[in-house]
Protein backbone atom coordinates (compact mmCIF):
# COMPACT_ATOMS: atom_id res chain seq x y z
CA UNK A 1 0.00 0.00 0.00
CA UNK A 2 2.82 2.37 0.84
CA UNK A 3 4.55 4.03 -2.07
CA UNK A 4 8.32 3.83 -1.73
CA UNK A 5 8.69 7.11 -3.61
CA UNK A 6 7.13 9.08 -0.78
CA UNK A 7 9.86 11.27 0.69
CA UNK A 8 8.05 12.68 3.72
CA UNK A 9 10.66 13.56 6.30
CA UNK A 10 8.75 12.62 9.48
CA UNK A 11 6.80 9.52 10.47
CA UNK A 12 4.58 9.38 7.44
CA UNK A 13 1.98 6.83 8.72
CA UNK A 14 1.39 8.73 11.95
CA UNK A 15 1.13 12.04 10.14
CA UNK A 16 -1.28 10.56 7.64
CA UNK A 17 -3.58 9.20 10.36
CA UNK A 18 -3.43 12.45 12.33
CA UNK A 19 -4.29 14.40 9.20
CA UNK A 20 -7.06 11.97 8.32
CA UNK A 21 -8.76 12.51 11.68
CA UNK A 22 -7.92 16.18 11.83
CA UNK A 23 -6.24 15.56 15.18
CA UNK A 24 -2.96 17.27 14.36
CA UNK A 25 -1.22 20.44 15.47
CA UNK A 26 -1.16 23.36 13.01
CA UNK A 27 2.57 23.18 12.23
CA UNK A 28 2.41 19.48 11.39
CA UNK A 29 -0.70 20.05 9.34
CA UNK A 30 0.97 22.77 7.30
CA UNK A 31 3.95 20.49 6.72
CA UNK A 32 1.76 17.62 5.57
CA UNK A 33 -0.37 19.94 3.43
CA UNK A 34 2.77 21.01 1.61
CA UNK A 35 3.81 17.39 1.23
CA UNK A 36 0.44 16.42 -0.23
CA UNK A 37 0.77 18.88 -3.06
CA UNK A 38 3.77 16.95 -4.38
CA UNK A 39 3.06 13.36 -3.28
CA UNK A 40 0.47 11.47 -5.31
CA UNK A 41 0.94 8.33 -3.24
CA UNK A 42 -0.07 10.05 -0.02
CA UNK A 43 -3.01 11.76 -1.72
CA UNK A 44 -4.24 8.43 -3.02
CA UNK A 45 -3.85 6.71 0.31
CA UNK A 46 -5.53 9.53 2.16
CA UNK A 47 -8.44 9.36 -0.22
CA UNK A 48 -8.64 5.56 0.18
CA UNK A 49 -8.62 5.75 3.97
CA UNK A 50 -11.26 8.48 3.88
CA UNK A 51 -13.37 6.06 1.85
CA UNK A 52 -12.90 3.46 4.57
CA UNK A 53 -14.08 5.99 7.12
CA UNK A 54 -17.15 6.65 5.03
CA UNK A 55 -17.98 2.93 5.04
CA UNK A 56 -17.37 2.75 8.77
CA UNK A 57 -19.74 5.65 9.25
CA UNK A 58 -22.57 3.50 7.93
CA UNK A 59 -21.98 0.76 10.47
CA UNK A 60 -24.63 1.49 13.07
CA UNK A 61 -25.44 -0.60 16.10
CA UNK A 62 -28.96 -2.04 16.16
CA UNK A 63 -31.59 0.38 17.45
CA UNK A 64 -31.74 0.55 21.19
CA UNK A 65 -33.96 2.70 23.31
CA UNK A 66 -32.52 3.99 26.55
CA UNK A 67 -33.32 1.79 29.49
CA UNK A 68 -34.93 4.61 31.38
CA UNK A 69 -37.35 5.31 28.53
CA UNK A 70 -38.01 1.89 27.08
CA UNK A 71 -38.20 -0.18 30.19
CA UNK A 72 -40.33 1.96 32.40
CA UNK A 73 -43.73 0.51 33.07
CA UNK A 74 -46.81 2.61 32.33
CA UNK A 75 -47.25 2.98 36.07
CA UNK A 76 -44.07 5.01 36.34
CA UNK A 77 -44.05 6.73 32.96
CA UNK A 78 -45.87 9.74 34.35
CA UNK A 79 -43.15 10.39 36.88
CA UNK A 80 -40.85 13.31 36.36
CA UNK A 81 -37.25 12.58 35.33
CA UNK A 82 -36.10 13.54 38.78
CA UNK A 83 -38.20 10.88 40.46
CA UNK A 84 -37.95 8.19 37.75
CA UNK A 85 -35.75 5.32 38.73
CA UNK A 86 -33.86 3.02 36.40
CA UNK A 87 -35.64 -0.25 35.83
CA UNK A 88 -33.00 -2.53 37.29
CA UNK A 89 -32.83 -0.56 40.50
CA UNK A 90 -36.52 -0.91 41.22
CA UNK A 91 -36.88 -4.58 40.53
CA UNK A 92 -36.07 -6.78 43.50
CA UNK A 93 -33.04 -8.99 43.18
CA UNK A 94 -35.15 -12.18 43.06
CA UNK A 95 -37.10 -10.82 40.10
CA UNK A 96 -33.91 -9.78 38.34
CA UNK A 97 -32.61 -13.29 38.89
CA UNK A 98 -35.79 -14.87 37.51
CA UNK A 99 -35.83 -12.64 34.44
CA UNK A 100 -32.13 -13.16 33.82
CA UNK A 101 -32.43 -16.93 34.12
CA UNK A 102 -35.41 -17.00 31.79
CA UNK A 103 -33.64 -14.78 29.30
CA UNK A 104 -30.51 -16.92 29.38
CA UNK A 105 -32.59 -20.05 28.90
CA UNK A 106 -34.40 -18.67 25.86
CA UNK A 107 -31.27 -17.13 24.43
CA UNK A 108 -29.37 -20.39 24.90
CA UNK A 109 -31.93 -22.11 22.71
CA UNK A 110 -31.57 -19.94 19.66
CA UNK A 111 -28.45 -17.86 20.22
CA UNK A 112 -26.24 -17.82 17.17
CA UNK A 113 -28.86 -19.77 15.29
CA UNK A 114 -27.37 -21.16 12.13
CA UNK A 115 -29.20 -23.15 9.47
CA UNK A 116 -27.73 -24.32 6.17
CA UNK A 117 -29.02 -25.98 3.06
CA UNK A 118 -26.28 -27.64 1.09
CA UNK A 119 -25.38 -30.91 -0.57
CA UNK A 120 -25.86 -32.72 2.73
CA UNK A 121 -29.36 -31.32 3.20
CA UNK A 122 -30.80 -28.89 5.75
CA UNK A 123 -28.86 -28.60 9.01
CA UNK A 124 -29.57 -26.40 12.02
CA UNK A 125 -27.15 -25.38 14.75
CA UNK A 126 -27.14 -22.90 17.59
CA UNK A 127 -24.52 -21.76 20.09
CA UNK A 128 -22.87 -18.94 21.97
CA UNK A 129 -19.82 -18.80 19.81
CA UNK A 130 -18.86 -18.27 16.19
CA UNK A 131 -18.74 -21.17 13.77
CA UNK A 132 -15.88 -23.54 14.20
CA UNK A 133 -13.93 -22.35 11.16
CA UNK A 134 -13.60 -18.85 12.53
CA UNK A 135 -12.67 -19.85 16.04
CA UNK A 136 -9.67 -21.36 17.70
CA UNK A 137 -10.14 -25.16 17.79
CA UNK A 138 -12.13 -26.04 20.87
CA UNK A 139 -10.32 -28.06 23.48
CA UNK A 140 -11.63 -31.53 24.33
CA UNK A 141 -14.00 -31.16 27.23
CA UNK A 142 -16.23 -33.30 29.36
CA UNK A 143 -19.91 -34.04 28.82
CA UNK A 144 -20.98 -30.88 30.62
CA UNK A 145 -19.76 -28.80 27.67
CA UNK A 146 -22.85 -29.83 25.74
CA UNK A 147 -24.66 -27.07 27.58
CA UNK A 148 -22.21 -24.23 28.19
CA UNK A 149 -24.89 -21.79 29.26
CA UNK A 150 -25.56 -23.89 32.33
CA UNK A 151 -22.36 -22.71 33.89
CA UNK A 152 -23.27 -19.13 32.96
CA UNK A 153 -26.67 -19.52 34.54
CA UNK A 154 -25.16 -21.03 37.65
CA UNK A 155 -22.61 -18.24 37.89
CA UNK A 156 -25.24 -15.57 37.37
CA UNK A 157 -27.54 -17.18 39.88
CA UNK A 158 -24.72 -17.30 42.40
CA UNK A 159 -23.91 -13.63 41.77
CA UNK A 160 -27.48 -12.54 42.10
CA UNK A 161 -27.91 -14.56 45.27
CA UNK A 162 -24.86 -12.83 46.66
CA UNK A 163 -26.40 -9.55 45.57
CA UNK A 164 -29.61 -10.43 47.40
CA UNK A 165 -27.60 -11.34 50.48
CA UNK A 166 -25.81 -8.04 50.41
CA UNK A 167 -29.02 -6.14 49.87
CA UNK A 168 -30.45 -7.77 52.97
CA UNK A 169 -27.50 -6.59 55.00
CA UNK A 170 -26.90 -3.13 53.60
CA UNK A 171 -29.57 -0.49 53.38
CA UNK A 172 -28.32 1.27 50.26
CA UNK A 173 -27.89 -1.52 47.77
CA UNK A 174 -29.69 -1.70 44.49
CA UNK A 175 -32.76 -3.70 45.42
CA UNK A 176 -33.42 -1.90 48.64
CA UNK A 177 -33.47 1.49 46.96
CA UNK A 178 -36.80 0.52 45.42
CA UNK A 179 -38.45 -0.38 48.72
CA UNK A 180 -40.06 2.79 49.84
CA UNK A 181 -42.15 2.86 53.01
CA UNK A 182 -44.77 5.17 51.48
CA UNK A 183 -45.89 2.58 48.94
CA UNK A 184 -48.07 -0.44 49.74
CA UNK A 185 -46.50 -3.86 49.25
CA UNK A 186 -49.25 -5.01 46.86
CA UNK A 187 -48.63 -2.04 44.56
CA UNK A 188 -44.91 -2.74 44.56
CA UNK A 189 -45.53 -6.40 43.74
CA UNK A 190 -47.86 -5.53 40.86
CA UNK A 191 -45.42 -3.01 39.52
CA UNK A 192 -42.54 -5.44 39.79
CA UNK A 193 -44.53 -8.17 38.12
CA UNK A 194 -45.42 -5.80 35.30
CA UNK A 195 -41.82 -4.90 34.76
CA UNK A 196 -40.64 -8.47 34.78
CA UNK A 197 -43.33 -9.26 32.21
CA UNK A 198 -42.23 -6.27 30.17
CA UNK A 199 -38.63 -7.46 30.33
CA UNK A 200 -39.60 -10.95 29.26
CA UNK A 201 -41.77 -9.53 26.48
CA UNK A 202 -38.89 -7.39 25.22
CA UNK A 203 -36.60 -10.37 25.27
CA UNK A 204 -39.08 -12.57 23.41
CA UNK A 205 -39.71 -9.92 20.77
CA UNK A 206 -36.01 -9.55 20.16
CA UNK A 207 -35.56 -13.30 19.88
CA UNK A 208 -38.50 -13.63 17.52
CA UNK A 209 -37.22 -10.87 15.31
CA UNK A 210 -33.80 -12.48 15.20
CA UNK A 211 -35.41 -15.80 14.37
CA UNK A 212 -37.49 -14.27 11.58
CA UNK A 213 -34.33 -12.77 10.17
CA UNK A 214 -32.56 -16.10 10.28
CA UNK A 215 -35.49 -17.85 8.61
CA UNK A 216 -35.47 -15.24 5.85
CA UNK A 217 -31.77 -15.84 5.40
CA UNK A 218 -32.38 -19.58 5.21
CA UNK A 219 -35.01 -19.04 2.54
CA UNK A 220 -32.59 -16.91 0.58
CA UNK A 221 -29.88 -19.55 0.88
CA UNK A 222 -32.33 -22.30 -0.06
CA UNK A 223 -33.37 -20.37 -3.17
CA UNK A 224 -29.76 -19.76 -4.17
CA UNK A 225 -28.93 -23.42 -3.67
CA UNK A 226 -32.06 -24.44 -5.60
CA UNK A 227 -31.03 -22.27 -8.52
CA UNK A 228 -27.57 -23.81 -8.48
CA UNK A 229 -29.11 -27.31 -8.36
CA UNK A 230 -31.41 -26.52 -11.27
CA UNK A 231 -28.51 -25.31 -13.37
CA UNK A 232 -26.63 -28.49 -12.51
CA UNK A 233 -29.62 -30.67 -13.42
CA UNK A 234 -30.08 -28.75 -16.68
CA UNK A 235 -26.47 -29.31 -17.60
CA UNK A 236 -26.70 -33.00 -16.76
CA UNK A 237 -29.84 -33.36 -18.86
CA UNK A 238 -28.15 -31.61 -21.77
CA UNK A 239 -25.21 -33.96 -21.48
CA UNK A 240 -27.51 -36.96 -21.40
CA UNK A 241 -29.43 -35.72 -24.43
CA UNK A 242 -26.19 -35.20 -26.24
CA UNK A 243 -25.05 -38.71 -25.39
CA UNK A 244 -28.38 -40.14 -26.48
CA UNK A 245 -28.20 -38.22 -29.75
CA UNK A 246 -24.73 -39.57 -30.41
CA UNK A 247 -25.95 -43.08 -29.70
CA UNK A 248 -28.87 -42.70 -32.12
CA UNK A 249 -26.51 -41.39 -34.78
CA UNK A 250 -24.23 -44.38 -34.29
CA UNK A 251 -27.17 -46.79 -34.51
CA UNK A 252 -28.38 -45.09 -37.66
CA UNK A 253 -24.95 -45.34 -39.27
CA UNK A 254 -24.75 -49.00 -38.30
CA UNK A 255 -28.20 -49.64 -39.76
CA UNK A 256 -27.24 -47.89 -42.98
CA UNK A 257 -24.09 -49.97 -43.17
CA UNK A 258 -26.05 -53.18 -42.64
CA UNK A 259 -28.57 -52.15 -45.33
CA UNK A 260 -25.83 -51.24 -47.79
CA UNK A 261 -24.01 -54.51 -47.16
CA UNK A 262 -27.18 -56.58 -47.57
CA UNK A 263 -28.05 -54.79 -50.86
CA UNK A 264 -24.57 -55.50 -52.21
CA UNK A 265 -24.90 -59.21 -51.37
CA UNK A 266 -28.15 -59.39 -53.34
Amino acid sequence: MRDTHCDYSGDRDEALVAYLYDDIDPAARALFDAHLTTCAACRDELSGLAGVRARLGRWLPPERQPAAASRSSPATSHQSPATRRTWWREIPAWAQAAAALLFLGVAAGIANFDARYDSSGLSVRTGWSKRAESAVPAPVRGPETNAPWRSDIAALEQRLRAEIGRSNNAGTTLASVATRPDRPAAALDAETLGRVRSLIGDSERRQQRELALRVAEIMRDVNAQRQADLVKIDRSLGLMQNNAGMEVLKQRELLNYVLRTSQRQR
Partner: protein, 201 residues
Protein backbone atom coordinates in the same frame (compact mmCIF):
# COMPACT_ATOMS: atom_id res chain seq x y z
CA UNK B 1 -29.75 22.82 36.08
CA UNK B 2 -27.35 20.53 34.25
CA UNK B 3 -24.76 18.84 36.39
CA UNK B 4 -21.40 17.73 35.06
CA UNK B 5 -20.54 14.05 35.18
CA UNK B 6 -18.14 14.63 38.02
CA UNK B 7 -20.75 16.51 40.04
CA UNK B 8 -23.23 13.71 39.48
CA UNK B 9 -20.64 11.22 40.65
CA UNK B 10 -20.08 13.23 43.83
CA UNK B 11 -23.82 13.40 44.46
CA UNK B 12 -24.17 9.66 43.81
CA UNK B 13 -21.43 8.93 46.33
CA UNK B 14 -23.23 11.03 48.90
CA UNK B 15 -26.33 8.85 48.45
CA UNK B 16 -28.36 10.52 45.68
CA UNK B 17 -29.52 7.56 43.59
CA UNK B 18 -31.14 9.74 40.93
CA UNK B 19 -27.79 11.26 40.09
CA UNK B 20 -26.46 7.85 39.16
CA UNK B 21 -29.56 7.24 37.07
CA UNK B 22 -28.80 10.45 35.22
CA UNK B 23 -25.28 9.20 34.52
CA UNK B 24 -26.77 6.01 33.11
CA UNK B 25 -29.12 7.97 30.89
CA UNK B 26 -26.21 10.00 29.57
CA UNK B 27 -23.80 7.20 28.93
CA UNK B 28 -25.93 4.16 28.19
CA UNK B 29 -26.01 4.62 24.42
CA UNK B 30 -22.28 5.28 23.95
CA UNK B 31 -21.35 2.35 26.16
CA UNK B 32 -23.75 0.03 24.35
CA UNK B 33 -22.41 1.19 20.96
CA UNK B 34 -18.84 0.65 22.13
CA UNK B 35 -19.68 -2.86 23.35
CA UNK B 36 -21.60 -3.74 20.20
CA UNK B 37 -18.83 -2.63 17.87
CA UNK B 38 -16.20 -4.37 19.96
CA UNK B 39 -17.90 -7.75 20.40
CA UNK B 40 -20.38 -7.66 17.51
CA UNK B 41 -23.42 -9.18 19.20
CA UNK B 42 -26.46 -7.24 20.21
CA UNK B 43 -27.59 -9.28 23.21
CA UNK B 44 -24.12 -9.62 24.63
CA UNK B 45 -23.50 -5.93 24.12
CA UNK B 46 -26.60 -5.23 26.21
CA UNK B 47 -25.27 -7.50 28.94
CA UNK B 48 -21.88 -5.79 28.84
CA UNK B 49 -23.58 -2.40 29.01
CA UNK B 50 -25.60 -3.35 32.10
CA UNK B 51 -22.62 -5.00 33.75
CA UNK B 52 -20.55 -1.86 33.11
CA UNK B 53 -22.99 0.29 35.06
CA UNK B 54 -23.32 -2.28 37.82
CA UNK B 55 -19.56 -2.36 38.25
CA UNK B 56 -19.33 1.40 38.07
CA UNK B 57 -21.99 1.71 40.74
CA UNK B 58 -20.19 -0.68 43.04
CA UNK B 59 -16.83 0.99 42.47
CA UNK B 60 -18.10 4.54 42.65
CA UNK B 61 -16.60 5.09 46.08
CA UNK B 62 -13.18 4.39 44.60
CA UNK B 63 -13.55 6.92 41.80
CA UNK B 64 -11.31 9.82 42.73
CA UNK B 65 -11.64 11.90 39.59
CA UNK B 66 -8.09 11.32 38.33
CA UNK B 67 -9.62 10.72 34.91
CA UNK B 68 -12.87 11.84 33.34
CA UNK B 69 -15.87 9.78 34.39
CA UNK B 70 -16.47 8.81 30.74
CA UNK B 71 -12.89 7.51 30.39
CA UNK B 72 -13.30 5.52 33.58
CA UNK B 73 -16.57 4.07 32.27
CA UNK B 74 -15.02 3.27 28.87
CA UNK B 75 -12.20 1.43 30.60
CA UNK B 76 -14.64 -0.73 32.56
CA UNK B 77 -16.62 -1.48 29.40
CA UNK B 78 -13.50 -2.32 27.38
CA UNK B 79 -12.25 -4.67 30.09
CA UNK B 80 -15.61 -6.44 30.09
CA UNK B 81 -15.55 -6.66 26.29
CA UNK B 82 -12.10 -8.20 26.32
CA UNK B 83 -13.19 -10.66 29.01
CA UNK B 84 -16.14 -11.56 26.81
CA UNK B 85 -13.92 -12.07 23.76
CA UNK B 86 -11.56 -14.33 25.70
CA UNK B 87 -14.48 -16.35 27.06
CA UNK B 88 -16.16 -16.58 23.65
CA UNK B 89 -13.08 -17.95 21.93
CA UNK B 90 -13.02 -21.06 24.07
CA UNK B 91 -16.72 -21.82 24.17
CA UNK B 92 -17.97 -24.68 21.96
CA UNK B 93 -20.97 -24.66 19.63
CA UNK B 94 -24.05 -26.58 20.86
CA UNK B 95 -26.79 -28.41 19.01
CA UNK B 96 -30.20 -26.87 18.35
CA UNK B 97 -33.25 -28.27 20.15
CA UNK B 98 -35.11 -30.57 17.76
CA UNK B 99 -38.66 -29.72 18.83
CA UNK B 100 -38.59 -26.04 17.77
CA UNK B 101 -41.05 -25.21 14.98
CA UNK B 102 -39.07 -22.47 13.24
CA UNK B 103 -41.65 -21.57 10.62
CA UNK B 104 -44.45 -21.20 13.16
CA UNK B 105 -42.25 -19.01 15.33
CA UNK B 106 -41.23 -16.89 12.37
CA UNK B 107 -44.84 -16.51 11.25
CA UNK B 108 -45.88 -15.40 14.72
CA UNK B 109 -43.12 -12.82 14.91
CA UNK B 110 -44.15 -9.18 14.65
CA UNK B 111 -40.92 -7.26 14.24
CA UNK B 112 -41.00 -3.50 14.50
CA UNK B 113 -38.53 -3.36 11.60
CA UNK B 114 -39.50 -5.48 8.61
CA UNK B 115 -37.37 -8.51 7.88
CA UNK B 116 -36.57 -7.10 4.43
CA UNK B 117 -35.30 -3.87 5.96
CA UNK B 118 -33.40 -5.82 8.52
CA UNK B 119 -31.78 -7.95 5.80
CA UNK B 120 -30.85 -4.88 3.78
CA UNK B 121 -29.29 -3.25 6.79
CA UNK B 122 -27.48 -6.44 7.68
CA UNK B 123 -26.11 -6.76 4.15
CA UNK B 124 -24.94 -3.19 4.27
CA UNK B 125 -23.04 -3.58 7.49
CA UNK B 126 -21.97 -7.20 7.18
CA UNK B 127 -18.93 -6.38 5.09
CA UNK B 128 -17.77 -3.84 7.67
CA UNK B 129 -18.42 -6.24 10.54
CA UNK B 130 -16.49 -9.01 8.83
CA UNK B 131 -13.58 -6.74 8.10
CA UNK B 132 -13.57 -5.39 11.65
CA UNK B 133 -13.63 -8.94 13.02
CA UNK B 134 -10.36 -9.64 11.22
CA UNK B 135 -8.51 -6.94 13.13
CA UNK B 136 -6.52 -7.64 16.28
CA UNK B 137 -8.36 -6.43 19.39
CA UNK B 138 -6.08 -3.45 19.98
CA UNK B 139 -6.50 -2.13 16.43
CA UNK B 140 -10.26 -2.61 16.52
CA UNK B 141 -10.49 -0.85 19.87
CA UNK B 142 -8.45 2.10 18.63
CA UNK B 143 -10.64 2.46 15.54
CA UNK B 144 -13.90 2.18 17.50
CA UNK B 145 -12.81 4.76 20.08
CA UNK B 146 -11.56 7.19 17.46
CA UNK B 147 -14.18 6.71 14.79
CA UNK B 148 -17.33 6.44 16.86
CA UNK B 149 -16.51 8.07 20.18
CA UNK B 150 -14.41 10.89 18.87
CA UNK B 151 -11.70 10.52 21.49
CA UNK B 152 -8.39 12.25 20.87
CA UNK B 153 -5.28 10.19 20.27
CA UNK B 154 -4.08 11.20 23.73
CA UNK B 155 -7.34 10.13 25.38
CA UNK B 156 -7.15 6.74 23.66
CA UNK B 157 -3.53 6.36 24.72
CA UNK B 158 -4.46 7.11 28.34
CA UNK B 159 -7.44 4.79 28.18
CA UNK B 160 -5.69 1.73 26.79
CA UNK B 161 -2.34 2.48 28.45
CA UNK B 162 0.02 2.79 25.50
CA UNK B 163 2.13 5.56 23.91
CA UNK B 164 0.51 8.11 21.64
CA UNK B 165 2.50 6.96 18.61
CA UNK B 166 1.30 3.39 19.17
CA UNK B 167 -2.31 4.53 18.96
CA UNK B 168 -1.64 6.21 15.61
CA UNK B 169 0.21 3.17 14.32
CA UNK B 170 -2.63 0.87 15.36
CA UNK B 171 -5.12 3.10 13.63
CA UNK B 172 -3.06 3.25 10.46
CA UNK B 173 -2.54 -0.50 10.36
CA UNK B 174 -6.18 -1.22 11.16
CA UNK B 175 -7.52 1.17 8.55
CA UNK B 176 -5.14 -0.25 5.96
CA UNK B 177 -6.42 -3.77 6.61
CA UNK B 178 -10.00 -2.54 6.46
CA UNK B 179 -9.33 -0.79 3.17
CA UNK B 180 -7.98 -3.99 1.66
CA UNK B 181 -10.80 -6.17 3.01
CA UNK B 182 -13.57 -3.76 2.03
CA UNK B 183 -12.12 -3.51 -1.47
CA UNK B 184 -12.42 -7.31 -1.71
CA UNK B 185 -16.06 -7.16 -0.70
CA UNK B 186 -16.71 -4.64 -3.48
CA UNK B 187 -18.36 -1.25 -3.59
CA UNK B 188 -16.74 2.08 -3.14
CA UNK B 189 -17.61 5.15 -1.20
CA UNK B 190 -16.81 8.73 -1.88
CA UNK B 191 -14.70 10.23 0.89
CA UNK B 192 -16.73 12.29 3.34
CA UNK B 193 -13.76 13.91 4.99
CA UNK B 194 -14.35 17.59 4.72
CA UNK B 195 -10.83 18.40 5.86
CA UNK B 196 -9.19 16.10 3.34
CA UNK B 197 -11.45 17.13 0.48
CA UNK B 198 -10.88 20.76 1.22
CA UNK B 199 -7.18 20.71 1.76
CA UNK B 200 -6.08 18.38 -0.98
CA UNK B 201 -8.00 20.08 -3.74
Amino acid sequence: MTWTDEELVARSISGDADSFNELIRRWERPIYALAYRTIGREEDARDVCQETFLRAFRALQGFRGQAKFSSWLYRIALNLCHDWIRRERRTPVVQAPEDVDLMALAAAAGPSESVEDLLARKDLTRAVERAMALLPDEQRTAIVLKEYHDLTFQEIADLVGCPLSTVKTRLYQGLTVLRRELAKSGGSERPRLRSVAGRTS
